[in-house]
Subunit: 199 residues, 2 copies
DNA sequence: TTACTAACTGGCCGGCCGGTCAATTGGGGC
DNA sequence: GCCCCAATTGACCGGCCGGCCAGTTAGTAA
């Protein structure tokens, strides 16, 4: 039987969220209309208002869902790799880079949200960076990384280098001299890791 | 005498462009209305249509103006510093970083344009990166930089690290452990330049 | 079976959207 | 001084915007 005919508020909300995610990621909040959202979700405009209040409520819900997934994944990643060996930082960079490679739409969503001034996720971002910075500090104290640089800046540097790569990848994909995702990652790691070697 | 009452097409166009730049930078293309643009410019809506055709024409003109300024400045910077000494790359990073620090609104404009799929400036960006990559290659051949990394990736790495810093600076400005612009730049340079030292 | 509640629909609303057009104004060339 | 054309205006347009609301339908608990 087709379950789409039966009433299921959670399923409906999920379907609306999914369709809204796609539309908002592609065109941003302002350029998407409630009518498009309704059609893409397969429900009526009124039903979206019923479940999410208004357009901004839906936008907030989409951002919250996307960031919650991102946050959980990253936190698990950071807490998993327990033993602080010399490759921990390198592995973290690779994991972060690959996560973005597999979730490019999340990068776009956060870019829109940030440009529009959204700061609701800032504290979660701060927490992740703090977690990472703590790991870097441990490695510094263990003599595995140079200790004359701010650990927070170390994390920020690689997060920036990875994020911006995927934020602009459609542009530079076919520029002369530009390598693939993995080639860029390899070169960045060469520079980054040697740059962090202790004296 | 108040010159604003006299007719001057160039001045009018410049005024419209300036006001539109501010509005588009703050809220993006879709969220700004022609009425707001007209009021901010001190002219009528019809006059904007007269000079720029339609809303998209104005948006294109704003992007073109902003990117032309950016492109000229960067190209001059790249061609000025002629003698390839060991500090050339370091100086280039500093100059690029400081340019962004002084023109944060340009970063925002390009972010909007990129998210909306604009690729009209891509070839100019490519040219700048190629110019920079050529410099890196020269330094590699002179034995001043390690030569086992792609020069284009070297340029991209520092451009990404700088751009993303200013794209997200409102967020992380007050995060615990995060330093000032100059402190981040100093730490990034430490890592980046040591990471590029020849074997 | 019934009564209640939440899910869901379709039509409607006032208002603002981008854009057009006819009319007016003013400055520069003759 | 006159004329012409570009600059500029304000009224106006059809259409779409987000949101609302009265009504209908389907699960669910008593």
């Amino acid at each position: 039987m087709n379950e789409s005919t039966t009433r299921d508020a959670d399923l409906t909300r999920a379907r609306i969220l999914e369709a809204a995610f796609d539309l908002f990621v592609d065109r941003g909040f302002a350029a998407v209309t409630m009518r498009e959202l309704a059609e893409a979700s397969g429900v009526t405009k009124s039903l979206i208002h019923h479940h999410f209040g208004n357009k901004e409520g839906l936008w907030d819900a989409v951002k919250e869902m996307a960031f919650a997934r991102y946050y959980e994944g990253q936190k698990a990643d950071l807490e998993r790799s327990g033993d602080p060996d010399a490759n921990l930082l390198s592995n973290s960079v690779v994991r972060y880079f690959r996560f973005l490679a597999e979730n490019p739409r999340v990068v776009r969503l956060f870019s829109w949200a940030h440009l529009e001034g959204d700061s609701s996720c800032s504290h979660m971002d701060a927490e992740l960076v703090e977690l990472g910075a703590g790991r870097v500090r441990q490695a510094q104290e263990a003599g595995q990384l140079r200790d004359d640089v701010n650990p927070t800046h170390v994390v920020t540097t690689f997060v920036n280098a990875c994020t911006q790569w995927f934020a602009t990848c459609e542009h530079h994909a076919d520029w002369p001299g530009m390598g693939s995702d993995e080639e860029y990652l390899a070169d960045f790691l060469k520079i980054f890791m040697r740059g962090l070697q202790p004296d």
